[in-house]
């Protein structure tokens, strides 16, 4: 097992873990905003790590360029859609849970 | 160029449609569509002649031979139907300009003609192709354009009729798709002739049985065979009059063709005959269709709707002939295909003329029509007589052959029931005749005879009704050979 493969395996593992935690967060958190928090952050980082891992596997080639493009695309669109989502939710009058409501 | 006829038949209207969209102006679009349709008719005549003299033609699209590429295969059966469809389209189109101008909004007329051409191309494509999947593609071309044409009717109910038809039609098409898929899984081919050769090997598997069932049910949905007919009366009643005339004369014929093609060519006469209950089922369904639809037709207030129900009844006759499974029965079905196209074309065109002048086809509004529009009323009566099956009209010929065919099989009750069914037709036609001829017209309205451009094609159809009722040589000999060929193919 050479260094690249090892590295990519580690990255994949971390990425998977992040995604899984995000998934659980989305299911368990109490309201839209906290769920968004869970999903948005882990999504972007997890995806980055996994794509990086794949890039290491691919080596220098067209495939790597494509992966880079996907990465760039996800990096741009992910936060943007989270932002749009939050804004729309806020505007439509969904209030974040605060204080006592959280303890219920 | 002569060897390219089979494909020209289909791509001519297909390519004319987008050109028509670019042309823009409705008058131009109409002229262009008419010219295209007439050209298609000429081609189909040449094709029929060629097939008649030299036997079936195969045309390999893209130059790839049959099971790998798509094949167009013209034999007597589809050459005959190609002629029916293209000539009816031409004749109806000739008389539609005013009626379309009156019933369809000005800015939609070009699109109307574009859809018409697409529909024509789709129907011709279904007829000409020898490839099962290609059937599905062109079925959808014709269906989608049909939905559009129906939705262009003035009444808002036309939209609803169109939506209903869309749902039913798509379910039907998807069923056909499932059937084709199952056939492909069992044989590995999509070409009809190839299927016919390879299916007998696996014929007794349940998969093939299910494939057959799916295809048949799918086609019957399109065909509006009782009890799957509920979409048809609405669709026909609320579509623009010209569209009704076109669809009634052609679309159901193509569906019957598909039924024949799949039952006899693809699955082979032997396979169809194996399931004896199926044949009896066809006969029973056909009879129920004749009676229930005729009875409902008698009760209708709107004549267009009544005649639409009568279409369901007439389809019943065709299915009876098919269900007999003999050469004579098939011949009767094919004859009735041709004749029904002629008479329904004439009836709906005369109704289109009425709608153009009166703005309605309700029975009450037609009082005394014979004084206002004598030629149109006369045409309707002659068409109606043909529908009933009076001697010297085409209707008589096909009923005659059908009765003979049933008697051949020793099915006396069926023959008797067919004749009783004709009596029902007398009733709904008579109601109209009574109102048109024996009631005084309301004094208030002034209505003149339909314009010559409508009357000319209308009477052309009426005369065809009578001519082919007297000189039966051509259709009878063609259909006899076609029926023989169908039964012989499977062996």
């Amino acid at each position: 097992m050479d260094v690249y493969e090892l590295l990519s395996a580690i990255l994949l593992a971390i990425g998977s873990f992040l995604l899984l935690s995000g998934g659980i967060g989305v299911l368990r958190f109490p309201d839209v905003y906290s769920r968004m928090h869970a999903a948005g952050i882990t999504d972007t980082l997890g995806a980055c790590l996994i794509l990086l891992a794949l890039m290491l596997l691919a080596g220098l080639s067209l495939v790597m360029v494509k992966l880079l493009m996907i990465l760039a695309f996800l990096l741009i669109t992910g936060p943007t859609s989270s932002h749009a989502l939050g804004k729309a939710a806020w505007k439509s009058g969904v209030k974040p849970l605060m204080g006592k409501a959280l303890n219920r | 160029m002569l060897s390219h006829l089979p494909i020209l038949q289909v791509i001519l209207p297909l390519l004319a449609a987008p050109s028509c969209l670019i042309l823009g102006r409705p008058a131009l679009a109409w002229g262009f569509s008419f010219a295209t349709s007439a050209a298609a008719m000429l081609i189909s005549m040449l094709l029929l002649q060629q097939v008649w003299l030299e036997g079936p033609i195969s045309y390999f699209l893209g130059g790839w031979e049959a099971p790998w590429g798509i094949e167009y295969r013209i034999d007597l059966l589809n050459a005959f139907l190609l002629l029916i469809v293209s000539s009816l389209s031409t004749v109806v189109l000739a008389g539609t300009r005013q009626s379309v101008a009156a019933e369809v909004e000005a800015n939609r007329q070009t699109l109307f003609y574009v859809s018409w051409l697409l529909c024509l191309a789709g129907l011709l494509g279904i007829l000409a192709t020898g490839d099962a999947f290609n059937v599905f593609v062109f079925l959808e071309v014709s269906s989608l354009s049909t939905y559009t044409l129906i939705s262009l009717g003035r009444d808002r109910k036309a939209l609803w009729a169109s939506y209903q038809y869309l749902i039913v039609g798509t379910i039907g098409a998807t069923f056909i798709l499932i059937g084709i898929g199952l056939m492909y899984m069992m044989t590995g081919t999509l070409n009809m002739q190839d299927l016919a050769q390879r299916l007998p090997v696996v014929a007794d598997t349940r998969t093939v049985f299910a494939a057959y069932a799916f295809v048949i049910v799918g086609v019957c949905l399109k065909l509006a065979l009782f009890p799957l007919h509920l979409w048809l009366p609405n669709a026909y009643a609320y579509a623009p009059s010209a569209v009704t005339a076109f669809l009634a004369a052609t679309a159901t014929k193509v569906a019957v063709y598909l039924l024949i093609r799949f039952s006899f060519t693809v699955f082979g006469a032997d396979f169809s005959a194996m399931d004896i209950p199926l044949h009896q089922l066809f006969i029973a369904l056909g009879l129920i269709a004749v009676f229930s639809a005729s009875l409902v037709a008698i009760l209708q207030i709107d004549i267009k709707r009544a005649i639409a129900y009568s279409s369901v009844a007439q389809i019943g006759y065709m299915i009876i002939g098919l269900g007999l499974g003999t050469a004579a029965g098939l011949q009767a079905t094919l004859l009735h295909l041709f004749n029904h196209a002629l008479m329904k074309g004439a009836l709906f065109m005369s109704l289109a003329a009425v709608a153009l002048r009166m703005g309605s086809t309700r029975l009450d509004d037609l009082a005394g029509l014979s004084q206002r529009m004598p030629l149109t009323a006369m045409a309707f009566v002659l068409g109606g007589l043909s529908l009933i099956g009076v001697p010297l009209t085409v209707g008589f010929i096909s009923k005659w052959y059908l009765v003979i065919a049933t008697l051949e099989m020793g099915m006396w009750p069926v023959a008797a029931l067919i004749l009783v069914g004709s009596l029902l037709a007398v009733m709904y036609i008579w109601r109209v005749v009574e109102v048109m001829y024996f009631r005084d017209p309301p004094a208030s309205t002034q209505v003149s005879e339909a314009p010559v451009s409508v009357l000319l094609p209308l009477w052309l159809l009426v005369i065809a009704n009578i001519y082919f009722g007297i000189d039966t040589a051509l259709p009878v000999s063609v259909t006899a050979d076609a029926a023989q060929a169908l039964l012989g193919w499977g062996k």
Binding site: A13, A47, L51, L54, A58, V63, F73, A88 | -
Partner: protein, 93 residues
Amino acid sequence: MLTVTTVTLLLVMALALSRAFVGPTVFDRILAANMFGTKTVLLIAVIGFLFGRPEFLDIAMVYALINFIGVIGMLRLIEYLEDENRNAHEDDV
């Protein structure tokens, strides 16, 4: 390791799906759909490597694109619907 990632992705997809079922607000569902889309992109990419045919990344790219467009479309629609509701309420008053 690729296999493990694939399984994890499928698991997360199932989680997102259940969130889409449960709701309760529209935004939860959109969030879930968006997340589901991202996971699909990754899944396709990983599967491509797993099957040894990484040319299929094009598909992953299309997914990413479609996902983004879909989310924007949904949000615009909701905004529009809410504008309409507000207008309707103003009419009531």
